[in-house]
Amino acid sequence: MSAPTDTVQPLLQLQHVTISPKSTPSRLLVNDVSFTIEAGKTTCVVGESGSGKSLTALSVMGLLSQQLQLNTGKVLFNDHETGVQDISLLSEKALQKIRGAKIAMIFQEPMTSLNPVLTIGYQIGESLTTHLGLKNHALKNKIASLLEMVGIPPNRADSYPDELSGGQRQRVMIAMSIACEPRLLIADEPTTALDVTVQAQILKLLDDLKTRMNMGMLFITHDFGVVADIADNVVVMFRGEIVEAGAKQQVLNNPQHPYTKALLACVPDAEGKKDLKPIDYAWLPDRNLQSTGAAI
């Protein structure tokens, strides 16, 4: 499966990924999704709830639930050591070596993704011990420097998650995910549950880290405002399919697909110049689908 590592080879390539429930393989939750992520760049996947954006991200990590299956498609990950390999074919054991070390993920809900009975220092240290074998003093120092990097005083390492605010918890999640300096960071709506001021800080932090560590980032969101701040490339998903993909400037300023236009039109602006507009499904050819648009 391995090919010689090439510098122009992108970091991650999804090729024709299709996901469906095991019980009804004909129902395609993600249908023929292909895109690439380059090192040091951020690709934003935008779509409404149920568009398959989170499933796409989970399939990269091999974290799809038991009821779902990856029908077809390749997830090609370009690793320094092993070259390009299709990580969807790897065994659970091989995947565990990649998860956390090479590919890391930040989950949506900082409130529920941390273990409430373990200190944040322990939780950050877990992957360091597993993947890098750090212990004792070295481990403590590394945890302290990670906390500092995300803007939390290092002496908070002995705090429990409930002693931290929502923004701080999300910072802990980020510290955990970047602990092993992954090549690829997947962020699944990392700021949706947060205040705007905190959101702005977290976005800036992620952007800085991405540049400093030359990470590729797969960023999932439903807010075009966030896309404008952080993305290099944009992928718009609708009902499991990619309807439009391209560079940020092109997608935001000159959207081609009617769904992208409709989605952009319903983002309220801060100046109040633009009228509020409900999302428009009039472009859908099927009348039945139009009326159920809000229910998906």
Partner: protein, 267 residues
């Protein structure tokens, strides 16, 4: 005086927090520190601030869902804080709330018809047939159907549930509605639908809204007046257009600067 439908004067509310080793110590947190607001009749007053700024506490204290330590809440010439339980209950007919999380605020074991009609039942408005008609009319108004009365909350999407929450609050034909982050749990694409619905209903039913939010893009579109809260205090208040153009307080400026996607504001 009649310009204002609801006034809060010098509200204070203090929470006691356990602290120190084993929680033997006590810290006092001032959730509301001398907060005064005025809601103009038929208008929308937005309360903005980050989590922990006291905006949800303010909402709950206005409706007396939580007791206040001191201050007055004047509605229809009466101080709500001084009313007894019975008088307050009948007053609540005119003061309703739309909650933040449409997934947690609807009883999963009740059918939509019962959920929406519950307020009518409690306040003894009309007989069974009248109540049913009112519920149907309200459901239709918010974009649902008569058949939905028999369904349970889990059968609906987030946006639809928030419509149910709105129907539940408005079926009593209240005068003041407190909306506590009504769209923050929804997709951006659904937000606009709900906001437009709230705006239309405000026109039709002559409602006054108190709109709690941390999303300044949303507030710009729905509010007439704005109150900015920070650490339990009101740091700035005024007309929306004025504050957005010339924010005076440093905290307001930082909130406005944090709005995502300024670069595509005209997109």
């Amino acid at each position: 005086m009649s310009e204002y439908i609801l006034q809060a004067k010098h509200l204070t509310k203090t929470y006691t927090q356990r602290s120190g080793k084993f929680g033997f110590g006590k810290t006092l947190v001032k959730a509301l520190n001398d907060v005064s607001i005025n809601l103009r009749a038929g208008k929308t007053l937005a309360v903005v601030g980050e989590s922990g700024s006291g905006k949800s506490t303010l909402a709950r204290c206005l409706l007396q869902l939580q007791s206040i330590d001191s201050g007055e809440v004047i509605f229809a010439g009466k101080d709500l804080a001084k009313l007894n339980a019975e008088a307050l209950r009948s007053m609540r007919k005119d003061l309703q709330m739309v909650f933040q999380d449409p997934f947690a605020s609807l009883n999963p074991r009740m059918r939509i018809g019962d959920l929406v009609g519950e307020g009518l039942l409690i306040h003894g408005l009309g007989d069974a047939a009248e109540r049913k008609n009112k519920v149907i009319a309200m459901l239709k108004r918010v974009g649902l159907t008569e058949a939905d009365m028999q369904k349970y909350p889990h059968e609906f999407s987030g946006g639809q549930r928030q419509r149910i929450g709105i129907a539940r609050a408005l079926v009593l034909q209240p005068k003041v509605v407190v909306c506590d982050e009504p769209v923050s749990a929804l997709d951006v694409s659904i937000q606009a639908q709900i906001l437009l619905l709230l705006k239309e209903l405000q026109q039709e039913m002559a409602l006054s809204y108190i709109f709690i939010s941390h999303d300044l893009r949303v507030v710009r579109h729905i509010a007439d007046d704005i109150v900015v809260m920070h650490q339990g205090r009101v740091v700035e208040l005024g007309k929306v257009a004025d504050i957005y153009e010339q924010p005076q307080h440093a905290y307001t400026q930082s909130l406005l600067a944090a709005i995502p996607g300024k670069k595509v504001a005209n997109g």
